[in-house]
């Protein structure tokens, strides 16, 4: 029987079951790594067809995955070193300096003394950027008495050779030209910390924070919405009134007050912001559940004796997931923005940590150093735009009525 033929009149061949015949069930279809239902396959195809969103997705993924390995891209210690026949991993292990003939508890591999010692007895493989987010560049060109330079330092490629000669090469000598000093591609901030390094680490923390916050708050939001929508009645009524009151609290003030009382930190901020952000998805999911719980296939599942939990997970959640996934990039954007805003106000991550908001704040306080503000602005603008493009593509991919040409 060909399924595509829609004559309906052609007598459909009835294969009568013979109890003791060979098994009727066909062999299991070849399972692929990603076993997508046809609906999801079409959605994926639609997503790919939106070129802007698809490319944004890959650009974002490359940036995000790269930033996860920030320690291997920008660090003030080598990735691997060989010293007197011993292979060392300074990225992972803190070696005391006396191992290399010094006296400090932690080795400063940028110190010409240590570097010479290791190079004399072995070798080192450095990351492309030899600064970590908190490394202070002590070799910055300081400028002359008439024209002071110092921190915040402009990107090195903006400096003249003359200006560069006021700095030091990594091994402590006076440079002949700008080629000899260590480059700060985007300059440094007002504490002589390399901006590229701070950007990579700040990007990572912003995106991670956004992802975790969006992830946890969607989980809570979906669960709350599911329970309300599925069971309805008094439960729904009370929960809805509670959410109305809760979401009308002045969030930012409460955040500021709490951030003032409690010691700020990644997880503390996450917890505080979670208090309010879970509400976003509740209405969406609740509405989806209210709609879907009266679908005939849900009634059929009830008639088959499925438990409420099973019905929710198997039949209703997939319905609600469409709304949730569509909304998720925008929730993520909101989370990133909130963290940036808090950092900008100086109420976010503890002092010294790298964050996009902090770069913006420095840009505001150091208007004479426009590379700070411009870097922060472009990073956030591009990051948020990428997310919006991805979100748009996802939304269109889930839209059944959308016709692609």
């Amino acid at each position: 029987m060909t399924v595509t033929s829609r004559t309906g009149l052609a007598p459909e061949p009835a294969v009568l079951p013979a109890p003791d015949r060979a098994p009727l069930a066909p062999p299991l279809p070849h399972k692929r790594l990603l076993n997508l239902s046809p609906i999801n396959q079409r959605r994926l195809a639609n997503f790919k067809r939106n070129k802007r969103g698809y490319w944004s997705f890959w650009i974002f993924m490359v940036l995000f995955v790269a930033s996860l390995f920030a320690e291997f891209i920008a660090n003030d210690r080598p990735i691997i070193a060989s010293y007197k026949g011993e292979i060392l991993f300074p990225v992972f292990v803190d070696y005391p300096e006396d191992k290399f003939g010094g006296f400090l508890a932690q080795t400063d591999y940028r110190d010409p003394f240590v570097a010479d010692e290791i190079n004399a007895h072995g070798w080192m493989i450095w990351p492309p950027v030899r600064f970590s987010y908190n490394t202070i560049n002590r070799d910055l060109p300081q400028g002359t008495a008439e024209k002071k330079l110092g921190a915040p330092a402009a990107p090195t490629w903006l400096l003249t050779d003359e200006e560069c000669r006021t700095g030091r090469t990594p091994d402590g000598k006076t440079p002949g030209s700008c080629r000899d000093i260590e480059w700060n591609w985007l300059g440094t901030d007002d504490q002589a910390r390399d901006l590229v390094a701070r950007l990579i680490y700040g990007f990572r923390i912003s995106v991670l924070f956004g992802l975790i916050l969006a992830g946890i708050s969607s989980m809570i939001g979906v669960a709350a919405g599911a329970v309300q929508g599925y069971f309805g009645g008094w439960l729904d009524l009370i929960f809805q009134r509670f959410i109305e009151i809760w979401s009308s609290l002045p969030q930012l003030y409460i955040l500021i007050i709490l951030a003032g009382i409690l010691v700020p930190g990644f997880f503390m901020l996450l917890g505080i912001m979670l208090l309010f952000s879970w509400v976003t998805l509740v209405h969406l999911v609740r509405a989806e559940f209210l709609r879907a719980r009266n679908f005939e296939y849900v009634t059929a599942a009830r008639a088959l004796g499925l438990s409420n939990a099973k019905i929710i997970f198997k039949h209703l959640l997939p319905n609600a997931m469409v709304a949730t996934l569509t909304f998720l990039p925008f929730v993520l954007n909101g989370s990133i923005e909130t963290l940036t805003a808090l950092d900008y106000l100086g109420l976010g991550m503890p002092p010294g940590s790298a964050s996009l908001g902090e770069i913006l704040l420095q840009g505001k306080t150091n208007l004479q150093a426009p590379w700070l503000g411009l870097t922060g602005f472009f990073t956030i603008a591009i990051l948020l735009s990428l997310m919006v493009f991805i979100g748009e593509a996802a939304r269109d991919a889930f839209d059944q009525r959308k016709i692609y040409r």
């Binding site: 079951p17 679908f295 296939y297 009830r302 088959l304 016709i403 040409r405």
Partner: protein
Amino acid sequence: MSAEPLLDVRNLSVAFRSGQNETLAVDGVSFRLERGRTLALVGESGSGKSATALSIVRLLPYPAALHPSGEILFKGDDLLKANAAKLQSVRGADITMVFQEPMTSLNPLHTVERQIAEMLRLHGARGAAAVRALVIALLEEVGIPSPETRLDSYPHQLSGGQRQRVMIAMALANRPDLFIADEPTTALDVTVQAQILKLLKDLQAKLGMAMLFITHDLGIVRRIADEVAVMQRGKIVEAGPVGSVFERPQHRYTRALLAAEPKGAPPPADATAPTVVTADNLRVWFPIKRGFLRRTVGYIKAVDGVSVTVREGQTLGVVGESGSGKTTLALAILRLIRSQGPIVFLGQRVDGLRWKAMRPLRRDMQIVFQDPYGSLSPRLSVAEIVEEGLSVQNRGLSYAARREVVARALADTGLDPRDMDRYPHEFSGGQRQRIAVARAMALEPKFVVLDEPTSALDMSVQAQIVDLLRDLQKRHGLAYLFISHDLKVVRALASDIIVLRQGKIVEAGTAAEIFHEPRTDYTKALFSAAFRLEADVSGVVSQ
């Protein structure tokens, strides 16, 4: 025949584009329609009859739809080449349409008066009092009683039949030359259907308009049309005057359509067969709550004191108009909604049991729904849908064993087990309904509720499903509770019948008795509407 027909469709094709694929929905269709005549386009769903009708007024979803060929000459002008302004002046004035679903065709936020008046104003009527008088006259014309009181009603305050009458009033407002009716009665009860058909016929005679009538029901064609064109897969396979086509069908497909009415006889009523389920004085009352404290001020009595008995190997037909409580009764017996009154299933009182205690019993009681599109989850493959019950009711079964049960259930219902890993959207309506039946049968139940299982299907497929159900009943000794407003199907399946009206039993007895000699006026009106498409004038049935 006059030299120039009102509508002349020549070699019309319609294609739909989705992604890279183009599918041809209408393939080189030609027909003509004279003034004052009725042409019926007949075919099953997907045969392209609606696409043909919609392209006359260019209402297809362009640019996803396109016309590779053809011209549509209306009074000599080619509508396919007409510009937007010309089309707008034609639509709603010279050519009007009535659709299948009157609830979604009317704007729920506007009153009846406003919607009809809009049509009049768009095409030139002026003056509030004059327009109002016109609206009242139109409503009177389409048979709405005391139309003055209905002017401020919203669509949801009207019954399905009344809504369709309002739609017709809107369509007739500007005295069209061509009236297109796209399955205008499919969503309505048989009794209401008969009334609407009578109304259309009368109005056409009075106004002398041409009517293009789209339907899958040959009974309607015979009653209303002068000429008929039979469509199959986008082509007109046979056309001609109704009399000759019905008497001497030439094409094989037409003959198959004509032979497709549900046939066969149910097993005779046997009062000695073992009882599977009985319910006594069953009541489902929904409280009406008012005021701040939500006090109960009254009840909507959806099912009010109904007693039923279903026996092994027998079918109890439940008949009545929509809103008479048929589905509510079935859900109550299956304990899917709250009810009062004892229900005995296989000798066990089940009306007080909790959800968990009911679960083991559910494998013996199953349900098949009306809409094969809504009752199958689009996200699950056929195998996953059919084995859903097994995963709860028969936990010991291995995965391979479950697939084997699924395969047998599919084969049992006339499907190819090799299709079990496909998804519902790859199947036609009739095949989907077979899947829904297979899901119920996979648990080998003793009692199955069939809630209008054929109503959403094409006539030809209905007959196949009826045969399938009767065959399954015979082989497995099933007890059916068969709900339908379609009495032709009931006659082919039911051994006993109860007739419901407003939640109460009006008449009960064996099918033979009731079909032979209906006692109440209500049953008589139902029967004459169903079998002879005759409208009831005594007022026992709803409007």
